[in-house]
Symmetry: C2
Subunit: 278 residues, 2 copies
């Protein structure tokens, strides 16, 4: 059984890519009306350029049962045409432990995802039912980049010294609990210094970095701040910047490929400049 | 358009009940194999004894598409036989604001729930897309009762004085943002002093109190700590203590009714002792 981190490293190396494409289907933006058709076209056009696909659950849930069926078809298609690409569920699930057993079952057994974003509001202990899936990736939502993010994430944890922001404490806790090697973190791209702080606290943990493009995060600063020693342990996630690069039915798949390829190249230039080419 | 709080107060008064039944279908525990059949039997047996039904989303998601179809059928059935009972989605959803727009759409427009539990990890600002649904109930997960709950929820927020635990700060923030009168809080029943602190910070906000029964919360202490002035603004939630009171097909619905009736009576005795009979 291949673990999440090995799977991520293997496909990143094979495709020379740290690009994760977020699949956030929005009927107001899609070039074709059917969600499954749209996703299949994006996947077919980009599967050799990425390390992961990341369906964002609420975009499917908002469409009701047809949306969830489209998610099911999307998962099947990715497994069929790109079986080695990491399939990452973005739902930020989290509750107390007994309920998290059901979330973990849903995401990893029923849906069959390789990894999932989770929410640690009920504490690290609450995530134990996720952590028990040793071959899956448990990506803890650590620091976001929205205006209100600091409300909770930046509260200083008093550890005897002058304290540290909660998100740094959480990153350190995650690293400490990483006995199965299956934990990762989500850190937004907007503030590279936060990424740098998290990386310092969590060597060996993959970091999912959303917000390149649409949310204005700077690629070079974010990537260098997030890079691990050894394997890169970074996933640079872009959604609408790729999937809605064109909204024209005639070329949206081709333009998505161009956008994904450009992002991959930009990332690889930074890696090369860091003396770490593939 | 009737708002959530009016709806809750009206059905609580009509049914003389603060009981919320959690519908957490578990195939290992259900007296009959079909989820929709099971829920319909529970609903039919208890609808006149409750103020709310609360499907717990991961229990349906863990069963895949058939589970989600059963949730759909359950919602339809509750709307059909008990249209005035509050229908509360328990999914603790939460992400940054642009994504929360989709969660809100899913829960309130697509599924049509009256209220939903949400997660404030990205800060109060991230919940704005939920708050905009003025006639829906936005129930912010505030304090849980699991062993690790204090990791994040109890971190002291330095407000210039000696500080307060984060969950109290969150309750005060929620009260401040309650301009539409549509915000509530989730606080576990295990530690009544926490409930009391939250109530002090959030007059006028309904509090959903899970953990009576299975999680060992004491009813009387929790209820008196959570009671508001004016309307009770409390939902006492019980799941398996009611739905799995019997695991025998011949009497599980009847026993669920007995358990719900007993809980309602116990609550109403406390209300009467507080000088606040219906």
């Amino acid at each position: 059984m291949t673990g999440f981190r090995e799977r991520l490293e293997s496909i990143s190396r094979a495709n020379k890519s740290l690009v994760c494409i977020g699949l956030d289907p929005d009927p107001n933006l899609m070039a074709v009306p059917d969600v499954a058709d749209f996703n299949r076209a994006i996947v077919d056009a980009t599967a050799d350029l990425v390390c992961a696909f990341k369906p964002n659950f609420p975009f499917y849930e908002a469409l009701g049962m047809p949306g969830l069926r489209a998610l099911e078809q999307t998962v099947e298609h990715i497994r069929s045409v790109a079986p080695d690409v990491v399939l990452l569920a973005d739902g930020k699930r989290g509750d107390i432990g007994s309920t998290n057993e059901k979330y973990a079952q849903a995401l990893f057994t029923t849906w069959g995802f390789d990894a999932a974003t989770v929410n640690a509001y009920a504490g690290i202990e609450s995530l134990d039912p996720f952590f028990e899936y040793a071959d899956k990736g448990i990506i803890i939502w650590c620091r976001s980049s929205n205006p209100g993010a600091g409300d909770i994430q930046d509260i200083r944890v008093n550890d005897g010294s002058e304290g540290q922001p909660m998100y740094e404490w959480l990153a350190a806790q995650a690293a400490e609990r990483n006995t199965h090697g299956n934990i990762g973190l989500v850190v937004g791209a907007t503030y590279p210094e936060q990424l740098s702080a998290v990386r310092g606290r969590s060597p060996g943990l993959p970091i999912l970095i959303p917000g390149i493009g649409a949310q204005g995060g700077a690629l070079e600063e974010s990537l260098t701040a997030g890079l691990d020693s050894g394997a890169p342990n970074v996933l640079i996630s872009s959604s609408r910047g790729i999937t809605y690069a064109s909204r024209d039915e005639s070329d949206f798949a081709e333009m998505a490929r161009t956008a994904a390829s450009t992002l991959r190249d930009q990332i690889n230039e930074v890696l090369a400049a860091e003396g770490r080419p593939w």
